[in-house]
Amino acid sequence: MNKFGIVLALSAGLIQAQDAREIVTEVQRRARAESQRYEGSLRVIDSGGRVTDKSWQYDRLGSHGNSKAILRFTSPPEVRGVKLLVLNHPDRASDQWMWTPALARERRIALQDRSTRFFGTDFSFEDLEERDVEHYDYRLLGQETLEGHLCWRLEARPRKGKSSQYTRSLLWVRQDIYVFVQVENFVDNQLARRLKYGDFERVAGIWTGRRLEMHDVRRNSRTILTFDKLDYNLPMQEETFTLQALRRGL
Amino acid sequence: MIELAGVSKHFDGKRKVVALDTVDLRVERGEMVAIVGPSGSGKSTLLNLIGGLDRPTAGEVRIDGVSLAGLNDDSISRVRRDKIGFIFQFFNLLPTLSCLENVGLPLHLRGWSSQRVNERSRELLNLVQLSHRLEHLPEELSGGERQRVAIARALSIYPPILLADEPTGNLDTRTGAEILALIHDLHARLGSTVLVVTHDMTVAASCTRTVSLLDGRVAEDRRQ
């Protein structure tokens, strides 16, 4: 263990003594950007080894908990042109609309069950939400080395009154760059989903894992999401993130 | 014992017919009485009244001291069932039933068990010498044989009273004589009271008493 590591380890102990929550807050703080854009490709490999690919272009405006995002599907051809508008609210569930070009109309996605899988991936809608730190209680369980990096191991439990499909989650946060490396979600002490971050790269000063792999343990199916042409803080128009814009075909 | 006191029977139609006109008659137990008279003199009506098949317009019929006038239809039926056996000129056998079944019918009406009915019927058909015809249908029998089945049926309950309406009227002379002999034989053996309506003077002559009817009245009552 090098010197740098020891310093980090010491500071980690310090933080634990203060508050585990601050680690998570720090992770979020460091990831904050005015906007984000990337081209995502999504690959689902189900338990039978069957592979489906999709790709989209992703634009996000605004920061955590109050952002607006548009997902434009670019392939396969059957879904090309389908757009997803997500308006996140800090105090309530997000509003989502889907635009289907063949019908030339948008529909509201009436999501009543956040555990529903997101369009056939191993992510549930809840997994893709921007989580508010305040909705969970955190506990620092210790530290361990993961993929060659020293990490804090934290436990998050939803606070009373905050619903989640999971009873608890384990979070691994890289101590050097304050990013999540792995998240394990449990339902009644059974591991349900494991999300791994990889291919970390610093873009516009923000460390981002460009490869996300979600493993649905119960279905034994995995989804790999990779970010290409990732960029932050590009200028974006508020008007783009409205239903009117969706209808105009922006 | 049969008693008729002032019995009259009228039939009301377009033309009023007096079938019986204040007839008084008393027949003691064990008597064998012939009732004779020309057509329409009221012989059959008399028999029907005694058998309770019909009710008199006036007067009273008593069987063993019980007046039929005071009884309702069901009670009269029961009297008939328990005390009276009918023998008809035209046999009146049920064509679809075998001899055995025909003879057993009155016993079934009394609710006897099948086995008992069977035993009694065989016994009676033996008595009338038809034990070889048990399962035959009436149409397979000669006239005399049919009348013997009818007699066996009338006797099935060993009735104290046997009413016979022209029992030999539909038979040839020889068979008629056989049937008459049979009736005498049974009368002697069972001691029933027997009333025979007949045209046949030989039949009448064989009885101990002859009652002659004329126009609904007893014209003559002669004991031999």
Partner: protein, 850 residues
């Protein structure tokens, strides 16, 4: 029992044909009873089954009648905290176009949110569609079908399936196949699921939903949630558990249920008559046997019980066969009936299998037994009263005593008086039906006396025709009224029914024709479905402008005809521009001033209701009707009523502007198109079709086609009636055969004597023929007379209870005229067999009979 085995069984064995006929009387009655009710129940339960399957975990359904409601209602419902899941639904029935497959129920849902209420159990490997509805939603031609439907049509994933849509036939792509069972078994398995927003387009629904299915929050429960939603949405919306729809279906098809009950009761009555007839004949046949039994001391009770036991056994066996035959009958009728009811009421059900209901079967069996006992009761009683003396005297008939005759006449008179009193003094249905039954009973009681009287009157006529044979035939009737009275009564009743039915049918047709002539007088009807009762497709209002532009078109009237709830029963709302309507087809209201009524109605200040609605609901001019619409409660004064046959449960005519305002629905079911004078119907039709070709679904029906469609439905409605008529007449004829057979047996000696004194066979034959025809004449005269009375009751019944339709009383002279040769011919035909047997019988045997 012993007696039964000895005597009855022998009789049955000897008269096999007659016994079979006796049994078949009860069998027929029970079969029709069980069959018809089973069909009705099966259709109802198929409907309920479809509702249940489609409902899935739905606890409450939000609906606003057939017009549906705006999309925004969904967001309001979803925002209600007691709602754990809310999913919009559109249901449509479409023709598949593939021969023999009939229709397909298309359930349109929002796949992104619907799974919390419904399980889409897809074939393995296809689950991606459910989890990833992206492709399914992105392509509006996506459709999921049931395994059953896929197999029947040879469909696989990726196969094309052509369905009728607003844009004409459209090719859909099968993107999912649902496993058999569960949702996929709804509508007899002919189920398809598609995206609701695609369905709005395809079925011309605009931005509206038919229904929202709701799952209530477990902590709050459906009852509380229902109250909250009702408060939230107002009276224009119904919030009910899915099972409630079965009740609406039942109340809508009530007229059908009543006519089924009527047919069943009628069939059982026929059964009673057959039993009565057969047993009457058996009793006179077996009079000698009864006499012998009585002479041997059998009591009256024993005789009566013997015959009752026979009828009970006939009932038990006949009913059991009847129940089985009823199920078979139901199987044969089920598909037809289901389709017919769908056409008639536009409901989604597809019944292909029969649901057997043990209580119903038991009930049918028991009714058959009761009917048999009822039919056997009178003959058994008369058997117990057989005079043994007369029975034992060969060749004598037992005449109806004068006293008995007088008693009957008195009873008939009393019943007639009570019946008249019932009708005059009270208007309650009880009094009405009591009056009906009593009047028929009075006629039955009088029929022997009347028959005797008629036979006496006929004697000189017969004598004049054939001095010897005629007199003998008449005397046979006169001397043995007991023998003929049952037959005459049966003939009388069935003819009376025939006259009643024919009268109602004729009056209905006439009335419907009158209605069609005025109300349905447009030259062309432009609809979105090939049938005008189908409701799955609708036009948007803009079509009107385009129709007006077609050369040769003088006038176009948009009509919207949704079913809405008035109280708890669905009625038909007819929304049309009244100001324009009355210029082309104005009918005078039955009460009130037409000008005022139509002016107010056109201004949206009132409604004109159908006559049957007025009668069925007891509404009159000036009353207020209340229609709860999604956008408010509509209270309208009744301005008048019209003769109108659009719907059996009644219809309400309002101005279309009012409808649009309260229901927020501008869609159109039918355009009534009038042509310029001289414009060729075929040409205009062609240019309309061409104008919309390839763009939308348009059907142009000519006046003649609509007319014949409506008359077709009416024909089907009355079809059952005609079958009943035929059965009734057949049964009556059977009675004649029976009567003649007995008559010949009774008169064998007489006929033998006739032959002995030199009558030739032709004369014997003539006697019997004349006797049969005389029975026919007597029955005809009495039947046609009683028919006049029966028609009165039938017309009243239709008015009061079945459809609320005022029919004019008009005696069906034509039917009566047709019945005369039919019945006389049938009587003669039925005499052929008995006459031959009388002629062929050996002479010596006949004379020796005693």
């Amino acid at each position: 029992m012993k007696l039964f085995r000895l005597l009855s069984w022998q009789y049955v064995r000897k008269h096999k044909l007659r016994s079979v006929l006796t049994l078949s009387g009860i069998t027929l009655g029970v079969a029709i009873f069980v069959g018809m009710h089973t069909v009705n129940q099966s259709v109802l339960s198929a409907f309920q089954h479809t509702v249940d399957r489609v409902a899935g975990a739905t606890e409450l359904e939000i609906s606003a009648g057939e017009p549906g409601f705006e999309e925004e209602v969904l967001e309001r419902v979803q925002a209600e905290p007691c709602v754990s899941a809310a999913a919009p639904i559109i249901e449509a029935i479409v023709d598949t176009g593939s021969p023999g497959q009939g229709s397909l129920l298309v359930l349109a849902v929002d796949m992104t949110g619907d799974r919390s209420l419904r399980e889409y159990d897809l074939e393995s490997g296809e689950s991606a569609i459910i989890d990833d509805p992206l492709v399914f939603l992105a392509q509006p031609d996506s459709i999921m079908v049931s395994r059953q439907f896929a197999q029947r049509n040879g469909l696989r994933i990726g196969s094309g399936l052509a369905l009728e849509t607003m844009e004409g036939p459209k090719r859909f792509t099968v993107r999912g196949i649902m496993r058999t069972g569960g949702l996929a078994s709804a509508y007899g398995g002919s189920l398809a699921v598609m995206d609701i927003y695609a369905a709005q387009l395809v079925f011309g629904r605009g931005r509206r939903f038919d229904r929202i299915d709701v799952g209530a929050d477990a902590g709050i429960g459906p009852e509380k949630c229902r109250e909250r939603l009702e408060a939230l949405l107002g009276p224009g919306f119904k919030v009910e558990p899915p099972s409630a729809r079965g009740q609406y279906f039942a109340s809508m098809s009530q007229a059908f249920a009543i006519s089924i009950s009527f047919a069943s009761v009628f069939a059982l009555l026929i059964g009673i008559f057959i039993i009565y007839n057969s047993f009457s004949i058996a009793v006179s046949h077996r009079r000698a046997e009864i006499g012998i039994l009585r002479s041997m001391g059998a009591t009256r009770g024993q005789i009566r019980n013997l015959f009752l036991a026979e009828s009970a056994v006939a009932g038990v066996i006949g009913s059991a066969i009847g129940v089985g035959a009823g199920i078979l009958l139901a199987r044969g009728m089920i598909t037809y009936t289901s389709t017919y009811l769908r056409d008639l009421y536009g409901t989604a059900q597809r019944a292909e299998t029969v649901t057997t209901d043990p209580p119903l079967m038991l009930c049918g069996w028991f009714m058959g037994l009761l009917a048999s006992l009822a039919g056997g009761w009178l003959p058994a009683r008369s058997a117990s009263r057989v005079d043994p003396v007369k029975a034992l005297q060969k060749g004598k008939y037992q005449l109806l005593s004068a006293g008995e005759n007088r008693a009957r006449r008195l009873a008939a008179f009393a019943l007639g008086c009570i019946s008249a009193a019932c009708l005059l003094l009270s208007s309650s249905p009880w009094a009405f039906y009591t009056g009906y039954v009593l009047a028929v009973l009075a006629a039955l009681l009088l029929s022997p006396a009347l028959a005797l009287w008629l036979a006496r009157a006929l004697r000189p006529v017969l004598r004049w025709l054939r001095p010897v044979e005629g007199a003998l035939a008449a005397d046979s009737l006169i001397q043995a009224p007991r023998r003929t009275s049952a037959t005459v009564a049966a003939l009388m009743l069935s003819l009376a029914l025939a006259v009643g039915f024919a009268g109602v049918a004729r009056a209905s047709y006439r009335s419907i024709h009158g209605w069609i002539d005025v109300a349905l007088n447009p030259d062309l009807f432009v609809t979105a479905s090939p049938r005008i009762t189908a409701r799955s497709f609708r036009f948007e209002p803009e079509v009107e402008t385009r129709l007006r532009a077609v050369a040769g078109v003088r006038e176009v009237q948009a009509v919207r005809t949704p079913r809405v709830l008035l109280g708890d029963t669905p009625v038909l709302l007819v929304a049309v521009d009244i100001g324009r309507l009355i210029r082309t087809s104005r009918r005078e209201p039955l009460e009130g001033d037409g000008d005022t009524a139509y002016r107010l109605a056109a201004e949206g200040k009132g409604a004109i209701i159908s006559d049957n609605l007025a009668l069925l609901r007891g509404l009159k001019k000036g009353d207020t009707i209340e229609l709860a619409a999604p956008l408010g409660v509509l209270r309208l004064p009744v301005l008048g009523s019209l003769v109108e046959y659009s719907d059996q449960q009644g219809s309400i005519l309002i101005d279309r502007s009012l409808y649009t305002r309260y229901w927020g629905d501008t869609s159109v079911n039918t355009f009534r198109v009038y042509l310029e004078p001289g414009a060729a119907e075929a040409a205009v039709r062609q240019s309309i079709l061409e104008g919309f070709a390839g763009e939308r679904r348009v059907f142009v029906l000519t006046n003649r086609e609509v007319r014949s469609y409506i008359l077709d439905l009416t024909d089907q409605w009355f079809g059952l009636t005609y079958v009943q008529l035929a059965v009734a007449v057949l049964v009556a004829i059977l009675g004649i055969v029976n009567t003649l057979t007995v008559s010949i047996i009774d008169r064998r000696r007489e006929l033998g004597v006739l032959q002995a004194v030199g009558a030739v066979r032709r004369q014997i034959r003539n006697t019997i023929w004349l006797e049969a025809v005389s029975i026919g004449v007597v029955g005809l005269l009495l039947g046609l007379a009683l028919g006049a009375l029966n028609l009165y009751f039938s017309v009243e019944m239709v008015r009061q209870d079945i459809a609320g339709i005022r029919l004019t009383y008009a005696y069906p002279w034509l039917t009566a005229a047709v019945l005369i040769p039919v019945i006389l011919g049938a009587a003669w035909l039925s005499a052929l067999g008995p006459a031959e047997s009388a002629v062929r019988g050996s002479l010596s045997e006949a004379l020796e009979y005693e």
